[in-house]
Symmetry: C2
Subunit: 195 residues, 2 copies
Amino acid sequence: MPAGRPRNFDVDKALDCALQLFWRHGYEGTSLSMLTEAMGINVPSLYAAFGNKETLFRKALEWYLESPASYMANALKEPTARRVAEKVMSGSIELATHPNNPGGCLLVQGAMAASPEGAPIRHTLSQVRAAGEAAMRQRFERAKREGDLPASADAARLARFVMTMNCGFAVQAAGGASRSQLKEVAKIAMQCWPS
Amino acid sequence: MPAGRPRNFDVDKALDCALQLFWRHGYEGTSLSMLTEAMGINVPSLYAAFGNKETLFRKALEWYLESPASYMANALKEPTARRVAEKVMSGSIELATHPNNPGGCLLVQGAMAASPEGAPIRHTLSQVRAAGEAAMRQRFERAKREGDLPASADAARLARFVMTMNCGFAVQAAGGASRSQLKEVAKIAMQCWPS
DNA sequence: GGAATAATATAGTAATTGATAAATAATTTT
DNA sequence: AAAATTATTTATCAATTACTATATTATTCC
């Protein structure tokens, strides 16, 4: 145990509270007073533990990607491109409509509608989305080499299609669409998958 | 001409300036000082002419729906359901990626990421999106009666599918996706259209 | 037990938010 | 020309924003 007065709050739990707020209200829609109240700490403790609001958001984003949004990495491990696409969409829908979570997706929720001061965060989030799309593209290229996607298929376009669906799910879920409604939509989307 | 000192600004032009800002930055991301600077008027004039920030947004929204977003109403007039879906998606993409416009769609951009104070606006915008989806559903039901959609098709699901694509286009465009990239995505989406 | 260390609590910073009050200027009506 | 009406200007309002300085409390090291 390090010298000095010990923390009387759990950093990981506090970070999870912050994530919930950012997820629901976006970066700029979440104020420090909302954060400190939900995290159960006061402002100087927040700054001591997390730097400032922006670094707190970035830490919450990291945690989001490695835990609630880990469905993406898992989906890429599926054996065929079709099943990858199905898993990405169902994972995205389940995340965006889980009753314990705020509706939608942090990467979408946090990225829209921001004053000029929020531009760096917005930029980071669209980069993260682009990275997900690129990972899918590479996975689909592998599928072409492995033969479970026809050689005529365009990996980049298919990845963009799935990511566009994902963004659409996030908006629809934030607007109140139900899980079963979005699953029906995903089923329709899979009907155009090349076989 | 009414009695009293005449306005020395054009209300419609000022409203259009406000729309540009709300479109780009969302409701809460746009401040009164940004508005007055862009509109070329000072605060009391804004309040006298438009009420307050919220009614100004609602007037900008009305203007948005009847002018830049009129593609939806026009698309519904197409003779077949397939062409309706094609037109809705291409209209949405062109709006969201037009070089003179802010990227994305006001209905999406303004609806995400908001503090609790912005809830009424967020609610209004998701209602407007739901209204568009309902209009499409009715149009597709008519198409079933007219025979250009098979009786087995589900009008509500198809409408939700197209609206989900639209929301996805808006997010992707706001994140920098190009018009041609999104048109390719729309082409893929149309491959699953029932015929 | 005393010094060093680190967290918390209280209070307060300058800047910005949406919104207004009072005074002034420009019209039409009579 | 005077009164009535309406817009603009200037200044300001209380509340909130992200953030910090100071003082206090709790712990470990020596």
